[in-house]
Amino acid sequence: MIFGLSIVFVLTSILTVAGALAAALLKNLVHCALSLTITFAGLALLYLQLDAQFAGFSQILVYIGAVAILVVFAILLTRGAGIPEYRSFSSSWLAGITISAGVFALLAWAVTKSLSASASSSAAPQVTVQQIGLALMSSYVLPLEIVAVLLTVALIGAVIVAMPESRTPKSESSQGGDR
């Protein structure tokens, strides 16, 4: 127990943050995508430690099984796997780092300030998949339907955006008129 936190939590969070840092600092894009996958896995382990098994397994299924593959496919389709022809970091990188450091400082200050009083840890809620299913069908049926429509729209939209344009046949008269 380090600072009152379990060793498993410390190791998992170190893994998660290391993966995120590697995604920020590595030059090779595919390495960035693979360290992003490590971050996703670390986050899934953190969800499992919070007794949210359904969310943890969904995280692995959706993010590692689908989003990570999507990202690597996009990297390969945009020829980002080789040597990049431009510099990796933009010219205003210092401003970006400062802003994100400021955001982190603000959030950390808010967390430690507001939670220093309470030190309660309640018992683990026993959530079964049946309860989640019932909740989805009763209280959350409207968000469920909206997410279904959203996913269909996103699927069709992504296909249309990424589809190569059909070539229109060029007219012949513009080419033979000057001879």
Partner: protein
């Protein structure tokens, strides 16, 4: 440090790193990776508050996080489709070069 505070600090750290990626890297796909990291950090926040907050049996935090996972996956698909479509036109994914709206 309470467990809740620890989880929130980790989430804030991942959020800040995601923000740094989105602000400092030049490749469009890396910016999308940063956005995904930010969404994941927000999910971690939601689940941590669900676990340590009041009324965990109402499942609100977990439901929110699950819907957020679904929406983030859809957004990643559309965003990456956009990056691929732009690359097809201009043969580059350099964000510093994407300065014109005109095709």
């Amino acid at each position: 440090m309470t467990p809740l505070a620890a989880f929130l600090i980790v989430a804030a750290l991942v959020f800040a790193i995601g923000l740094a990626i989105a602000l400092t890297r030049r490749n469009a796909i890396l910016v999308l990776i940063g956005i995904e990291l930010m969404l994941n950090a927000a999910n971690l926040n939601l689940i941590a508050f669900w676990r340590f907050g009041t009324h965990p049996e109402a499942l609100t935090g977990m439901m929110f996080a699950i819907f957020s996972i679904a929406v983030a996956a859809a957004e990643a698909a559309v965003g990456l489709g956009l990056a691929i479509a732009y690359h097809r036109h201009k043969k580059t994914t350099d964000l510093d070069a994407m300065t014109r709206m005109k095709g």
